[in-house]
C-alpha cells in the first residue's frame, strides 16, 4: 500500500486512526498493539509472505537486545561484545542475502564469464528496519536502550509511517513517546498539523516529483541503450532527476511525519532544503538527515571519526559514504555515488582546514554564497547521474553529454519563436534539430520552477515551525520559521485544500517512491 493511493488515504488511514483513538481511550497498551497490527497489515498488503520475515527479525532482535542489556547490567562486557557481533552479523547476513546476493552473483558471473542470478525478491524496507534494529542492539550493549516492552518495540520497528522508506528512527526518541499517555488521546492540533504536513508531502510527490519524472527516463534510457545524449538532453534529464528524487523522497518524509503526527507521535525531520546547501558538508546536514545521523553515530564514530588525525578522518569519511552508497543499492553505480560524495566531503573538509590555516574567510567575498551554492548543487547533480544510471557506462555517457562532448543541439521548434536570433545562432554554428530526449519548453519550465521552489521557498518544517512539526536530531540545525507560517485559519485552509485536491487528483495509478527500492 502506498501513501499516495486512494485505498490508503480513504480506507486504511481513517480505520487506523479511528481504531487507535477508540482503543486508546480504554487501554494504551492495546492501542499500541492496534497500531502495530495496523502497521503489519500495511506491510503485508505488499507481500504477506514477508510479514513472517519482519516478525522473525523483530522477535530475534528484541531477544538479543534484552539479553545484551542484561549482560551489560551484569558487567559481562566481553560476552555482550560477542553477542552483539553475532546479532549484528545475523542482521547483516539477512540484509546481504536479500539485497546483495544477486550483486555478488552477477559479479562472480562476470569473472567466470557465465551469467549467475538467484530469484530473490527484496523485502520492502529491509534496509530501513535492519539499520533501525542494529542501532537498538548497539545501544542495548552500551546500556543506552532503556525500555524493553515488546509491543512498543514491535511498534517502533513496524510503525507504518516510517517502515518502508524511513525516516530511520532511533529507539531513544520513539520509546518514550509510546510510553506517553497523552499520545493516546485525540488532540485536534495534532490532526490539523499532521494532515496539513501530509497534504504538502502528497503534493510534493504526486504533483512535483511525478510531474517532472517524465523528463528523466528518455535520456537515461537512451544512454543505457548506447545513444549519446547531447548537452541539453543530458543536463535536462540530470536536473529533472535531481528534482524528482528530492521531491519524491522529501515528499515521502513529509507524509510520514504528517501521518505520525496525526497519531500524536513526532518523527525526526529528514530534510532541510538540501539544495540550499552552500557546501557538501552542509548538504549532508540537510539531506536524509536520519541516515546521515545513523552513519555518523554507528559507522563514522566507531571507525574513529576525526579523533585520529586529518588523513584518517578523510579516510573514515570516504569509507562511511562508500558504505552509505552501497546501502542504497546493490550496484557499482551506488558505490560510485557514495565514493564521489566521500571525495567531495574530504575535499570540503580539506578546504575548510586550509581556509582556517590561512585565516581566509571566503564567506566575506561578494557573491561567494551564490557561487558556493551553485558549485555544491552542480556537484550533487553530477553525483545523482551515477545514482540514476542503470550502469556505469550509461553514467559516463550521460556525463560526457553534460560536458558537451556529445555535441550541442537546440530543439527545432524553438526556431519558430526565435526568428532572427535563431538565424543568427545558425550562422554561428549552432545546430537545431528534432530532439526526442529533451522535452523542450515544457521541461525548461518544470526545471526553473522547481529550482525556484527549492531555493526560494521555505520548507515544510519552516512553514509549520510554530507547531513543532518533528524532532530535531542532536547536533542538527533547529527549525527556524520561514516567511510563511502555517496557522489554522481561513487562508491556510484554502491553501492546504488547494494543494490537497490538486495532489489527490494527481494520484493516477501506481507511482512508487524511489526510496522503496532501498
Amino acid at each position: 500500500m502506498l501513501f499516495n493511493s486512494f485505498p490508503f488515504i480513504f480506507l486504511f488511514l481513517p480505520a487506523a486512526l479511528l481504531g487507535f483513538f477508540l482503543v486508546g481511550r480504554r487501554a494504551h497498551r492495546l492501542a499500541a498493539a492496534w497500531l502495530a497490527a495496523s502497521s503489519i497489515f500495511f506491510y503485508g498488503w505488499w507481500n504477506p509472505a514477508y510479514v513472517i520475515l519482519l516478525l522473525a527479525s523483530i522477535g530475534c532482535n528484541f531477544a538479543f537486545g534484552a539479553k545484551l542489556a542484561r549482560l551489560h547490567a551484569a558487567g559481562r562486557e566481553p560476552r555482550a561484545g560477542r553477542l552483539l557481533a553475532l546479532a549484528v552479523a545475523a542482521n547483516l547476513l539477512l540484509l546481504g542475502y536479500y539485497k546483495y546476493t544477486n550483486f555478488f552473483l552477477a559479479n562472480l558471473g562476470k569473472l567466470a564469464a557465465a551469467p549467475l542470478a538467484a530469484e530473490i525478491v527484496l523485502p520492502l524496507g529491509i534496509s530501513f528496519f535492519t539499520f533501525t534494529q542494529i542501532a537498538f542492539l548497539v545501544d542495548a550493549r552500551r546500556g543506552e536502550a532503556k525500555e524493553y516492552n515488546f509491543i512498543h518495540y514491535c511498534l517502533f520497528v513496524t510503525y507504518f509511517p516510517h517502515l518502508i522508506a524511513g525516516p530511520i528512527l532511533h529507539h531513544g526518541e520513539m520509546m518514550p513517546q509510546f510510553r506517553d499517555r497523552a499520545v493516546y488521546r485525540l488532540q485536534w492540533e495534532n490532526i490539523a498539523v499532521g494532515l496539513s504536513i501530509f497534504l504538502i508531502g502528497l503534493y510534493k510527490k504526486t504533483v512535483l516529483a511525478d510531474g517532472v519524472a517524465e523528463y528523466v527516463a528518455p535520456a537515461f534510457n537512451a544512454a543505457a541503450a548506447g545513444a549519446a545524449p547531447t548537452l541539453l538532453d543530458a543536463w535536462g534529464a540530470a536536473l529533472a532527476y535531481t528534482f524528482q528524487i528530492y521531491f519524491d523522497f522529501s515528499g515521502y518524509s513529509d507524509m510520514a511525519i504528517g501521518l505520525s503526527r496525526m497519531f500524536g507521535i513526532l518523527l525526526p525531520l529528514n530534510f532541510d532544503s538540501p539544495y540550499k546547501a552552500a557546501s557538501i558538508i552542509d548538504f549532508w546536514r540537510r539531506w536524509h538527515i536520519t541516515l546521515s545521523r545513523f552513519l555518523r553515530d554507528y559507522l563514522y564514530f566507531p571507525l574513529g571519526g576525526n579523533r585520529k588525525g586529518a588523513a584518517r578522518r578523510h579516510l573514515n569519511l570516504f569509507l562511511t559514504m562508500l558504505i552509505g552508497g552501497f546501502w542504497h543499492g546493490a550496484g557499482w553505480t551506488f558505490v560510485c555515488w557514495g565514493a564521489l560524495h566521500g571525495v567531495y566531503l574530504a575535499l570540503n573538509h580539506g578546504w575548510r582546514s586550509a581556509c582556517q590555516t590561512l585565516n581566509f574567510e571566503p564567506e566575506r567575498l561578494p557573491g561567494w554564497r551564490v557561487f558556493a551554492r551553485l558549485l555544491t548543487f552542480t556537484a550533487v547533480v553530477v553525483a545523482w547521474v551515477f545514482f540514476r544510471a542503470t550502469d556505469f557506462n550509461a553514467a559516463l555517457v550521460m556525463l560526457k553529454g553534460m560536458a558537451g562532448l556529445n555535441g550541442f543541439v537546440l530543439p527545432e521548434r524553438w526556431l519558430r519563436y526565435w526568428g532572427a536570433f535563431g538565424r543568427w545562432l545558425i550562422e554561428h554554428g549552432v545546430r537545431f534539430a528534432e530532439m526526442s530526449l529533451f522535452g523542450g519548453g515544457g521541461q525548461v519550465n518544470w526545471l526553473w520552477i522547481l529550482l525556484l521552489v527549492c531555493w526560494a521557498f521555505p520548507n515544510t518544517q519552516q512553514i509549520m515551525a510554530a507547531h513543532r512539526p518533528g524532532l530535531v536530531s542532536p547536533g542538527y540545525a533547529p527549525v527556524t520559521p520561514g516567511r510563511w507560517t502555517w496557522k489554522p485559519n481561513l487562508a491556510w485552509l484554502a491553501i492546504t485544500a488547494g494543494l490537497g485536491i490538486y495532489a489527490l487528483l494527481a494520484i493516477t495509478g501506481f507511482s512508487e517512491f524511489i526510496y522503496f527500492q532501498f
Binding site: 486512494f6 485536534w188 492540533e189 490532526i191 490539523a192 498539523v193 494532515l195 496539513s196 489554522p488 485559519n489 481561513l490 491556510w492 485552509l493 492546504t496 485544500a497 490537497g500 485536491i501 490538486y502 489527490l504 487528483l505 494527481a506 494520484i507 493516477t508 495509478g509
Partner: protein
C-alpha cells in the same frame, strides 16, 4: 479558527471538491466509457478521447461485447470504419475499432489475444505489422477499468473541461472507436500543410539516396518457409486462437499511398515488403490450411486512383482520401472492406487482393504491370516524390 474546526473544514472541503470533480467527470464522460449522458453541445464530441484511448478501449470491449473488432495501429484506427455494412454483416454484428495509435506489434499482439479471449467475438480485422510473440506482462490489466483515473484524476478533469469547451461540431472520434486524426484540424489549410504531413510521415522511411530508376527483382523475394521459432510465434498464436474460437480473422496489410510505395521501391525496400507478405501468407496457410474460410490475408498494394491522391490536388483536408502517405481515411477503408466483406455492396470493389501462396507470383506480376500502366499518366508522382525527398531530408 480552532484546530478542530480547521481539520473538519479541511476534510469536508477536500471531500466536497473530490466528489464534485468525480460527478463532473462522470456526467461529461470525456473518455466515453459510461455512455449514459450524451447531450449535443455539451459532451457529444470527445476531443480528449484519442489521447486517452488506452485507458478505456479494452475496457469498452469488455463492457460493450462487440462481435466484430478492428485492431491495429493508427492506420486502422483512422482508416477502417467499424460501422461498414459488410463488416457488421448488414448491421447484425456489434462493431468496435479497438486500434490504438502508435501501437507497435508487441502491443497489438497483446490486444489481439485479449480481444480473441472475449466471448461473442465473431470477426476480427487485424492490421498485420509483425509476427513475433511478446510478453504481455505489461498488459495484464487489459479490460480493467480504473475508476480513479476516469473520475478522480487531473487528466479526467482537464479532459472534461476541454470536452465541454470544445463542442464545435467537428468530429474527432466515433462512438465505435474510429479516429479522424488530423482530418478536421483547422491549422491544416492547404496543399503546403499536407505536403508537410507527407514529408513527416515519410521521414522515417527515407533512405539516403532514392534511385528513381531502381528496378525490382522478384527473384530476390524470400520465399522460404516461415521459421517455427519465436519470430513467428505471436502471429501463429493469434491464428490458432482465432481457429479455436471460430473467429473469422482477416489479416489486413494496410494500403499505402503510391508515394510511399515509390519511396519503398526507390530505396530498395520493395523486395523486403513482398518477402514479409510471403512470410505472413505462408504462415497462415501452414496454420489454417490454404483455403481456410476463417483466416484470410488481404493486401491493398496497388497503383490505382484510390491510393494515388495528389498532394497538390487543391482539395481541403476534410475532403481528402489520404492525410499523409500512411494514414488513409475511412472512405479508402470502406472500399477495402467492400472487397473483403462484399455483403453490403456485392462485388463493388476490385480493390486489394486476398493473397495466397498459390497465386503469389501472379500477384507480383499483376502489380508490376499495374504500376507500369499507371505511372506514365501520372507524372506528378515523381515530381511530388522529389519534393518530398528534399523536404524529408
Amino acid at each position: 479558527m480552532s484546530p478542530k474546526r480547521y481539520t473538519l473544514a479541511l476534510l469536508v472541503l477536500l471531500l466536497l471538491l473530490l466528489a464534485s470533480a468525480g460527478a463532473f467527470n462522470r456526467i461529461v464522460d470525456p473518455f466515453w466509457y459510461f455512455r449514459d449522458v450524451e447531450i449535443r453541445g455539451f459532451n457529444l464530441d470527445k476531443p480528449r478521447f484519442p489521447r486517452n484511448e488506452r485507458l478505456v478501449k479494452s475496457a469498452l470491449v469488455r463492457k460493450l461485447r462487440p462481435e466484430a473488432v478492428i485492431l491495429g495501429s493508427s492506420y486502422a484506427e483512422v482508416g477502417l470504419p467499424a460501422t461498414h455494412a459488410g463488416f457488421t454483416g448488414g448491421g447484425r454484428l456489434k462493431p468496435y475499432n479497438l486500434s490504438v495509435s502508435g501501437g507497435a506489434w508487441p502491443e497489438i499482439y497483446c490486444y489481439a489475444l485479449f480481444a480473441l479471449a472475449q466471448p461473442g467475438l465473431k470477426r476480427m480485422v487485424l492490421g498485420a505489422s509483425g509476427s513475433a510473440a511478446a510478453s504481455c506482462a505489461g498488459y495484464a490489466n487489459l479490460g480493467d477499468v480504473d475508476y480513479a483515473k476516469l473520475l478522480l484524476s487531473q487528466n479526467a478533469l482537464s479532459a472534461s473541461w476541454e470536452t465541454v469547451r470544445r463542442q464545435d461540431g467537428k468530429p474527432r472520434v466515433t462512438a465505435e472507436g474510429m479516429w479522424y486524426f488530423k482530418r478536421f484540424e483547422e491549422k491544416i489549410r492547404n496543399d503546403e500543410d499536407i505536403m508537410v504531413n507527407f514529408a513527416n510521415e515519410l521521414r522515417s522511411h527515407l533512405c539516403k539516396a532514392p534511385q528513381p530508376d531502381r528496378g525490382f527483382d522478384a527473384r530476390r523475394v524470400n520465399r522460404s518457409r516461415p521459421p517455427a521459432d519465436a519470430s513467428t510465434a505471436g502471429l501463429r498464436g493469434i491464428v490458432r486462437l482465432a481457429l479455436e474460437k471460430k473467429v473469422r480473422l482477416v489479416l489486413l496489410i494496410y494500403p499505402k499511398h503510391v508515394l510511399h510505395y515509390e519511396m519503398e521501391r526507390q530505396c530498395g525496400e520493395l523486395e523486403a515488403r513482398w518477402s514479409e507478405l510471403w512470410n505472413i501468407v505462408s504462415l497462415v496457410e501452414e496454420e489454417a490450411g490454404p483455403d481456410s474460410p476463417l483466416i484470410e490475408v488481404w493486401d491493398f498494394y496497388g497503383y490505382r486512383e484510390v491510393n494515388a491522391e495528389r498532394v497538390r490536388a487543391g482539395k481541403p483536408m476534410a475532403r481528402r482520401l489520404w492525410q499523409d502517405a500512411g494514414h488513409f481515411n475511412h472512405e479508402v477503408g470502406a472500399v477495402a472492406f467492400d472487397a473483403i466483406f462484399p455483403a453490403g455492396r456485392a462485388g463493388s470493389s476490385a480493390y486489394g487482393r486476398k493473397v495466397s501462396t498459390r497465386d503469389f507470383d501472379r500477384y507480383i506480376d499483376d502489380s508490376e504491370s499495374e504500376r507500369r500502366a499507371f505511372l506514365p499518366g501520372h507524372a506528378w508522382v515523381q515530381q511530388e516524390l522529389d519534393e518530398l525527398t528534399r523536404r524529408s531530408k
